[in-house]
């Protein structure tokens, strides 16, 4: 029988090992994918996975249940991943790169996406370009893009996890999308 999240958390807080294991099992894929997409590296994603759940189990007794369990775990995982990103050399973006509309014609690029997106997805070269484009995004854009557009979190939830205002999340998301579109279009040509 499925137990409620509240009950699961209560049991896990009281040291129930199977409740703790269920929490890990239910969220490990989400944490691994967040790490993988933010860091672009399987080894680093594994580190984020282990560090996150060690922290989750350690901090569980202090979890106040003001947010959903998944949101709380996401926040811990995001912090772990961001700490690793920050260890890397900071990269500054130019003003030109950040412009919403650079006046270019993207129709050829868009048509190529229309032509055979599924075949393209099977194309390793394209996948590498997509990974490289996301890797090059500034941290604040990349985090919001991965959370919203890839992992499907709600904007409000992202604002809560990242401790940002809703307008800041929306603005970062828009800039991330434009930035990715521009980078991919450049790589396409």
């Amino acid at each position: 029988m499925e137990i409620s999240e509240q009950e699961l958390v209560r049991l896990a807080k009281n040291g129930d090992r199977s409740a703790q294991a269920k929490i890990v099992k239910d969220h490990e894929k989400m944490v691994y994918n967040l790490g993988l997409k933010l860091l672009g590296d399987e080894e680093k994603a594994e580190c984020v996975l282990q560090e996150t759940f060690l922290k989750v189990l350690q901090a569980l007794p202090k979890f106040q249940e003001k947010s959903q369990l998944a949101t709380w775990i996401y926040r811990i995982a995001t912090n772990q991943a961001l700490m690793r990103i920050r260890k890397k050399k900071t990269r500054h973006i130019s003003i030109d790169e950040d412009k919403d509309d650079d006046g270019r014609d993207y129709s050829a690029f868009v048509q190529s996406l229309d032509a055979d997106p599924l075949d393209n997805l099977l194309n390793l070269e394209l996948k590498e370009k997509m990974d490289r484009a996301i890797e090059q995004l500034p941290e604040n854009y990349k985090t919001v893009f991965v959370m919203k557009d890839i992992e499907g979190l709600a904007l409000k939830e992202i604002a809560e996890i990242l401790d940002l205002s809703l307008p800041a999340v929306k603005s970062n998301l828009h800039r991330a999308r434009v930035n990715l579109r521009n980078k991919l279009a450049d790589m396409w040509n």
Binding site: A21, V24, K25, N33, Y106, D149
Partner: protein, 77 residues
């Protein structure tokens, strides 16, 4: 381009109902502005491209090491 879908997406991100005055205004503008339509369309397609790659499964060896580090037994499916 699927205009309704695009409009829905814009309105959701604006935190607006699709029938709100602001969304109606956006809809009217999109009807008459090919430049904005092309911009929104290209962004939407890039987002779709990333979404279609999907999530990865946790590799078996990574999973095994996780349970070992946590000193927990993985529950049966």
């Amino acid at each position: 381009m699927d205009c309704l879908e695009t409009l829905n997406q814009i309105c959701e991100e604006l935190g607006e109902d699709i029938n709100s005055p602001l969304c109606k205004e956006v809809e009217e503008h999109l009807k008459n502005c090919p430049k904005c339509c092309a911009h929104v369309d290209s962004i939407r397609k890039v987002v779709r491209l990333y979404q279609r790659v999907g999530d990865s499964e946790v590799p078996e060896t990574v999973d095994e090491r996780l349970w070992k580090v946590l000193n927990l037994s993985k529950p049966e499916d």
